[in-house]
Amino acid sequence: MKRFMPLIVFAVLLILPQIGLSTYTLHILILVIMWSVIGMAWNLLGGFCGQVSFGHAAFFGVGAYTAGLLYYHFGVSAWWGLPASVLVLTILSLIIGYICLRLRGAYFALATLALGEVLRVTAENLVKFTQGDLGIMIKQRTWVEKTWYYYIILLIAAGTFFLVKKVIESKFGYYFVAIREDQDAAESLGIDTTRYKTIALCLSGILTGIAGAFYMNYMGYIDPVVVFPLYDISIVTVMVVMVGGVANYWGPTIGALIMVFLAEIIRSMPKIGAAHQTLFGILLILIIIFLPNGIAGDYRKLFRLFRSKGASSSHLTKAS
């Protein structure tokens, strides 16, 4: 059963648009799947390899801008951004990897944190190249219907899931986990830690970039504040994985489902809408304190928590 789970989920998601969902529901589903792609990409690097990134917005935004700039400067379809972002992000990840993955400790987290900010400022200031704050708009989107977008992102997600699973189950996966658990021990066993960390970063960056390029095609408009924000993308990416489950294949998907729905519900509430970052922050703090491995990782603890509560309450009723 567990082996066929991905296939079953994929089949269900494949049929889902055919049962007549509203455009809004489809939009939410597309966002959920897109976030789960980003989450899976982050999980590969952060969850399995232990290199926490606070700047996945950088990869996301570079992917989106690759697609947008190709369209804006060369007039080709923005869909070419998907393959092009693979190339661009490989180069970007190699550079970042060369600079900060040689070192251990918090350097990588800090560098990624700064990178997102720097790219936002660069995109804002290079007005001739990126249109600055005006952003880039695709004048004619490929489809008005959302169904095709849904299938495309579903395929990307399925591919990502498959790739992450294959990589983690291969020799690489064991190296990644070894690096996360004890870098000195991994190195003493002959693992070239810098190299494998860079590989994880490249894969993660590429997958996030593809999601970004898809976002450009789907939304049809980007500007620096939309694709490079710290809280709304980088931290939400971390949260998607933390809430769902770190180092777990299904974690990011569960996390994306919860986070996107939560965001929609919170934003739709009139007074509380503006406070969504506060609520997200409190959720993040609670998750770290009580469920540090996320819902998928700590579901037993979650069950136990509920059961013990149930038990104590029944005990109380007995006593009374």
Binding site: G46, A114, E117, A274, L284, I289
Partner: protein
Amino acid sequence: MAVQIELFLQTLIAGILLGGLYALIGLGMALIMGVMKIINLAHGDLMMVAMYIAYWLFTLFHIDPYISVFIATPALFFFGIALQKFLINPVMKVESILPHNQVILTVGIGMVLANLATLFFTSNYLSTPVSYSSKAWYLTDFWKEAPIELSLSAPWSLSFLVAVAITILLWLFLTKTDAGKSIRATAQDIDAALLMGVNVRRMRVVTFGIGAALVAGAGCLFIPIYYLYPSLGKQFTNIGFVITVLGGMGSTQGAIIGGLILGIFESLTATYLGMGWAPVGRFLIFVAALVFLPGGVASIMREKRLGK
């Protein structure tokens, strides 16, 4: 030519004054980094909280921002202690896959603080219009035949002097008092400090409080010369960790030098490239430090001392 020299010297002065304030931000972060081995990514947001305290004290009671240093600093000290005691310490004990949980936690704290500030105080830019804000001393006032004209802004110099005073006080605290020595011992080697009877847990709590207090001081010194808005924390967190990396993770002397370097560098980019590029310049210095000097300024100082 004289104009260019004048511009350069003026930029340099502004850079040093700015660097003194940056050093105060970096010091707090370096202390926390040294003792707790985590980067406090809510550092800038704590500064933002202190700046709002100073702002409201000024607007409601007309208390000068330089006097609110004495109010905001203890307030943030206790706030930092509370954060450390009730949020960060419990997480240190939690078993998890990721080693960076506490860092992610500080991001969460920063996020909540920034958003709450936006909710309560709106995202308008605020400032405290002090009477001496445009006062300055000019070189020609003292030396009539000076070939070039330099000026020294009064609030900037005052902020710089207070920052230096706070730094000296901190240095005295760290080198002369028992608590200070315990903090330094904890930063050097937790196990050894434990064996010597240092209450490491209490030192962690106190250190976080001191770090928050230092950045609160920097906030009060910044408000007469800068403006205030809720999301300013992110920018100063970035500044803080660039200084920490530049100075050498956890080194306090390194943080002071790192702060000065960053201040001068940023002043130069602002003059010669434009204000908007300051974050990029900061990032370049960060990358340069990572590539060429991963141990920071502290590693150079250590080498020199060994050489003697």
